[in-house]
Symmetry: C2
C-alpha cells in the first residue's frame, strides 16, 4: 500500500515538473533530461514510472486540465456571488495563467501529434460529459451540444487572455465570458425537459 502511494506521488511530481518546465521554456524543450532535473530524479527513474516522454506529457496534460477544471467544480476563492462559476477557470491569476499557458501549448501541438490528440480527445470527452451532466437539460445530445458551446466560450476567452494578458485583464475576461454564457444558461434552464 505504501509503495502504491509513493508511486502515484512520484508520478505526480514528475508530471508537475513537466508542467513547470513547459510553462518556462515551451513544450518542445520539455525533454526527459530537464524534466528529471526539475523533478529532482534521474531519467532512469522517469523511465521506471513512465513508458516514454509522451506518457509524461499525457500525465502533464491530464494534470493541467484537471487543475483548470477543478477551479470550476470546487469553486475557487472569490467565486461567491458570481453568476457563472465557469469564470473561475479563466486565467485571472498567476496559478491559472500558468495552467492556461501550458494548456495552450498542448493545443498548439496537438495538431502535429496523433498521440497528443488522442489524449486531448479523452480529456475533452470527460469535460464535455461533466459539463453536460450539470445542465438542466434531459435531452442528452442537446446537453452535449450546449456543453460544447460553454467549453468553446471558456476556451475562447481563455485563449485571448493567455496570449494578450494586457488587453484582457481579469474584469474584461469575466465580463466577456458572462456576456457569452448568460443567454446560454437562461435558455438552457427554460428549455423543455
Amino acid at each position: 500500500m505504501v509503495k502504491i502511494v509513493d508511486h502515484d506521488e512520484r508520478r505526480r511530481a514528475i508530471a508537475g515538473a513537466a508542467i513547470a518546465l513547459i510553462a518556462d521554456v515551451g513544450i518542445e524543450h520539455a525533454t526527459l533530461r530537464p524534466i528529471a532535473e526539475k523533478a529532482g530524479v534521474t531519467t532512469g527513474a522517469i523511465a521506471h514510472y513512465f513508458k516514454d516522454k509522451d506518457a509524461v506529457l499525457e500525465a502533464a496534460l491530464q494534470m493541467v486540465g484537471a487543475r483548470l477544471f477543478a477551479l470550476s467544480t470546487n469553486g475557487a476563492e472569490g467565486s461567491k456571488g458570481r453568476p457563472l462559476k465557469y469564470v473561475d477557470i479563466l486565467p485571472t491569476n498567476d496559478v491559472s495563467r500558468m495552467a492556461w499557458k501550458v494548456w495552450l501549448a498542448f493545443c498548439g501541438h496537438a495538431s502535429y501529434s496523433v498521440r497528443l490528440r488522442e489524449i486531448y480527445k479523452r480529456f475533452y470527452t470527460d469535460i464535455e460529459t461533466a459539463v453536460a451532466a450539470e445542465l438542466k437539460i434531459t435531452d442528452r445530445a442537446r446537453a452535449r451540444d450546449v456543453a460544447a458551446t460553454i467549453i468553446a466560450a471558456v476556451d475562447g476567452v481563455g485563449l485571448c487572455a493567455t496570449v494578450l494578458p494586457d488587453m484582457w485583464p481579469p474584469e474584461r475576461q469575466v465580463a466577456r465570458l458572462t456576456e457569452l454564457l448568460k443567454p446560454i444558461f437562461s435558455s438552457a434552464e427554460t428549455s423543455p425537459k
Copy 2:
C-alpha cells in the same frame, strides 16, 4: 515600380512557405533553411527580404491572420443565407483548417516570445477595431467590448475544432458559434445608440 512588386511578391512567397512549413512540421522546426527550401530561394535571399527569422514569422502570422479574417469580410462561398458571417472563418474546410492550425501554433508560442506577442497584439488590435466598426453600437468602448466577445467566441469554436476535428464537424462548429453569437447580435442591434 516593377522591382517593388517583385519585392512584395518574393516576401509573400517566403511568408507563404513559412506557413506551409509550420502547418507541416510545427513552428519550432520552421527555421530559415527549410523555409528557404520550401520557397525555392537561398537563405541569403531571405536575409535580403527579412531582417531575421522573427521577421519571417511576423509576415507569416500577418498573412495567416489576414487569410482567416478575409474569410469573413469577403464572404466566402456558401455564406449566403447564413445568419452570421463569422461562421465563414471557422475551420470547416482544408484551407481554413490549415490556417487555424498555423494560427493556433502561433498562439501556443506567443506566451514564450515577447516579439511574437507584440506582433499578435498589433494584429488582434486591428481585428478588434474592424469587428467593432461593423457593429451598430455608437459607444466605442462598448463596441470594442462586444467585438472582443465575438472574437473570443470565434476563437473558442475554432480552437476546439482545430484540435478535435472529428468531435467538431463543420455543422457542429456552425451551430455552436451561432448559439453563442445570436444573442450578442440581437442585443447589439437593439441596444441604445
